[in-house]
Amino acid sequence: MFEIFGIPSNALFGQLLIGLINGSFYALLSLGLAVIFGMLNIINFSHGAQYMLGAFVAYLILQYSGLGYWPALIVAPIIVGITGMIIERTMLQWLYKLDHLYGLLLTFGLALIIEGVARNLLGSAGLPYTVPESLQGGRNLGFMFLPNYRAWVIVASLTICFGTWFVIERTRLGAYLRAATENPTLVRAFGINVPLLITLTYGFGVALAAFAGVMAAPIYNVSPQMGSELIIVVFAVVVIGGMGSILGAIVTGFGLGVIEGLTKVFFPEASNTVIFVIMAIVLLVRPAGLFGRRG
C-alpha cells in the first residue's frame, strides 16, 4: 500500500472502480440520448422518466408475477420500449417538421406526466428492490471489497454500449439508420421503411434507458424522482461528449463517472458541480463537444 496525494492507494483504486460503475449509468443513459438525438434530432427529455419506468416496471413484474431480476432485465425494457414507440407514433412524429425545440418541450411534458402518475400510483418514498441472489455478496480484491453486483453493472453496460456502437457504426442496419437521418427521402426511395426505422430507433433508445433503470433498481432507491435527479447530469455529459456522437456518449459517460469518483475522494463537496464545470470549460475550448461534429 502506498499513498497518492495523501490518499492510500487502495482507497484511490477503490474510488476509481466506483467511478467506473457510476460512469456505466451515465454511459448507458447518454447512449440512449445520443441514439435518439443522433437519429431523430429530438432531445428526449423524458429519458430520465423512462429510466425510472424501467425500474418501476421491474418492481411491478416482481410484485405481480414473481419474476425476478433476470427476466425483468429483458421484459421491462421491452415493455417501456413499446410505450416509447407508441409515444413516437402518436405524438412525436407530428413534430419532426417543426422546430426541434418542440420535441424538447413535448418530452418535457411527458416526463412530468410519467413522474406524476408513478408517484400517484406508487407513492413518493420509494419501493423495495433487492440485489438478485446470484449476484449478492462480493469479493475482496485486496484494495477494496467489490460487490458482485457492481462488477456485473460494469460488464453489462460495457457490453451493451459497445454492442450498440457496433450495430450503428459497423452494420448494414446502422448504415441505413445513419443514411435515413442524413437524407430520409433518398433512403425511402431505396425502398426502406424510414418511418418504421425511426419508430424502432426511438423505442430502442427508450429501452436503453429502461435497461439502465432495471440495473439501477437493486442499488439505487426506486422512487418517482430517481430519473429527474439524474437526467440533468446526463445532459451535461451528452453536451460534453458531443450530442450526436455514439462513441462520444460512451467514452464521456465512463470518463466523467471516473472524474466524479475522483472528485468525491479529493474534494467531495464539489462532486455535484464538477461535471457542469467541465462542461463549461469544454464549451469554451471545443464548442462542438469532445467528439462532436460541427454543423
Binding site: 482507497a11 477503490g14 474510488q15 466506483i18 467511478g19 460503475i21 457510476n22 449509468f25 406524476g116 408517484r119 407513492g123 413518493s124 418514498a125 420509494g126 419501493l127 423495495p128 428492490y129 433487492t130 440485489v131 455478496g137 462480493g138 477494496m144 471489497f145 460487490p147 453486483y149 457492481r150 437493486p218 442499488i219 439505487y220 432507491n221 422512487s223 424522482q225 430517481m226 435527479e229 439524474l230 469518483g261 468525491k264 475522494v265 467531495p268 463537496e269 462532486s271 455535484n272
Partner: protein
C-alpha cells in the same frame, strides 16, 4: 307539581339558550405536501388524521363546530406562504397545521406571527422553529432535529456504540444534524472517528461508505434525509456493512422510508421516532380508523400523522376552555402551553415556553425479515427516552421567549 314542571321547563330553556350561546366555531387548515416528496410522510394521510381528530372531539362536544380545509404547498415556500396568507386573511382560518419541509414551515411560522394566528408544526424538523426563529404563535409538535440527534446519539452510545463515523448530506440540515449528534455522542463518552460530506441528492454513496467501512467505527451515523438516506442504507447493505458488524444509525428516518427499503435491506437500522403504529393496541386501532378515514391502503401512518391528530385535539381543548368569541393566536397558544397535553397517541406531555411539545421518544431497531409477523411490523423497541431528556432544554434554545 306545576312549579317543578315550570322550573324544569325554565331550566331546559336556559340550558338550550346557553348551549347555543356557547357555540364555538373554528376553522382549521391542513397544509401539507400532497403531491411530491413528503406526500407519504404527511400529505393525504395528515388530512385523514385531521378528520379523525375533529370527529373524535366534536363527538363529545356538540357545541364546537370545526371546519376543515386542506392545501398543497408543493414543497415551495412561496406557495406555502401565499396559501397561509390567503387562508388567514381571506378564508378566516384560525389554525394551520402540519407543513412538512422546514423551509415552508419557517415561512408559514412568520406569516402566523404577522397575522397573529396559530401554527402547529407536525411535519417539519428544524429545531430553529423553537429556537432562534421561535415566536409566540407557533407550536412544534412531533419531533425536531435536536430530539433526533439526542435520541439516537445518546441511546446508541449508552448501548455500546461509542465510536462514530458520520456520512453527512452537505447542506445546512445535514450539518446541523451532524453537529447536534456529535455533541451528544462526545458528551456521553463517545468518540467521532471520522466524517465525510456527500452532496445532496447523491445517487451513489459507495465511495463514502467505503470510507465509513474503513474507519471501523461501531456506528455509522447517517446525517441525511429522504432519498439520500434510503440510498445510503440500500448501498450499505450491498457492501455488507451491517453484516460486517457496524451499526447504521439513521438520524432522520420515517416508517415510510423503512417501508420503501424493505426489511431485507433495512434490518438492523437504528432510529428514533415518537410514535409507531404497531406499538400497542390503541395505535393499531387508530391506524385501522385512519385507513377508513381515507388514507391509502398499504401505507402506514407516520408519527407526523399522529402529530396532526394530537395537535388538533389539544388545540380544540384549549379553544373550548377559552369559551366562545374571538381569541387571537397568541392567547390561544398561551392557553395551549398552560394546559398539559393528554391524548391516546402521545400520552401525557407538555408544551414548553418556546412552543416545543415534549413527549417520550423511542429508539427503535428495524427487525429482520424473519422477525416480522405482518406487513408494517418494522420495529423492535430498544429504549424509551423520557420527555424530560428527549427534547432540548428551553434554556439552551436561543429562543427569545425564554426570559432570563
Amino acid at each position: 307539581m306545576k312549579k317543578t314542571m315550570g322550573l324544569a321547563a325554565l331550566a331546559v330553556m336556559l340550558a338550550c339558550g346557553t348551549a347555543s350561546a356557547q357555540q364555538i366555531n373554528v376553522k382549521i387548515g391542513v397544509l401539507s405536501d400532497m403531491s411530491s416528496l413528503y406526500a407519504d410522510i404527511g400529505g393525504p394521510g395528515s388530512v385523514a388524521a385531521a378528520k379523525m381528530a375533529i370527529a373524535d372531539f366534536t363527538k363529545d362536544h356538540a357545541n364546537v363546530k370545526v371546519e376543515l380545509i386542506s392545501g398543497d404547498h408543493q414543497n415551495k415556500p412561496d406557495v406555502g406562504s401565499q396559501i397561509a396568507n390567503q387562508w388567514f386573511d381571506v378564508d378566516k382560518v384560525d389554525m394551520l397545521i402540519d407543513v412538512p419541509n422546514s423551509g415552508v414551515a419557517l415561512a408559514v411560522s412568520e406569516v402566523a406571527k404577522q397575522k397573529n394566528k396559530i401554527f402547529i408544526v407536525s411535519g417539519a424538523a428544524a429545531s430553529t422553529l423553537t429556537g432562534a426563529k421561535c415566536n409566540a404563535n407557533t407550536v412544534h409538535w412531533t419531533y425536531d432535529t435536536w430530539m433526533l440527534a439526542n435520541g439516537t446519539g445518546k441511546a446508541m452510545v449508552k448501548t455500546g456504540g461509542d465510536t462514530w463515523f458520520f456520512l453527512t448530506a452537505d447542506y445546512a440540515f445535514g450539518h446541523a444534524l451532524e453537529a447536534d449528534t456529535s455533541a451528544v455522542v462526545e458528551k456521553n463518552g463517545g468518540k467521532i472517528v471520522g466524517k465525510v460530506r456527500a452532496p445532496l441528492n447523491t445517487n451513489d454513496f459507495s465511495s463514502f461508505l467505503l470510507q465509513a467501512q474503513a474507519s471501523k467505527a461501531k456506528v455509522i451515523g447517517l446525517a441525511n434525509a429522504g432519498g439520500d438516506t434510503i440510498n445510503s442504507i440500500k448501498q450499505a447493505a450491498e457492501f455488507g456493512i451491517v453484516k460486517g458488524g457496524q451499526k447504521l444509525a439513521g438520524l432522520l428516518v420515517f416508517s415510510s422510508d423503512v417501508n420503501a427499503l424493505g426489511l431485507q435491506t433495512a434490518q438492523g437500522l437504528s432510529l428514533t421516532e415518537t410514535w409507531y403504529w404497531d406499538a400497542n393496541d390503541t395505535n393499531r386501532a387508530w391506524t385501522k380508523r385512519w385507513h377508513e378515514a381515507g388514507a391509502a391502503a398499504g401505507k402506514f401512518p407516520t408519527m407526523i400523522h399522529a402529530g396532526v391528530y394530537a395537535g388538533i385535539l389539544h388545540y380544540l381543548k384549549a379553544r373550548l376552555a377559552m369559551g366562545p368569541g374571538e381569541h387571537d393566536g397568541k392567547s390561544v397558544v398561551a392557553k395551549m402551553k398552560s394546559m398539559p397535553t393528554d391524548d391516546v397517541l402521545f400520552g401525557k406531555g407538555t408544551i414548553d415556553v418556546t412552543g416545543r411539545k415534549r413527549h417520550d421518544a423511542y429508539l427503535f431497531e428495524v427487525k429482520k425479515p424473519s422477525e416480522s409477523k405482518h406487513p408494517g411490523d418494522f420495529y423492535t423497541l430498544k429504549a424509551t427516552i423520557p420527555a424530560s431528556e428527549a427534547f432540548r432544554d428551553p434554556k439552551d434554545s436561543g429562543c427569545s421567549l425564554v426570559s432570563g
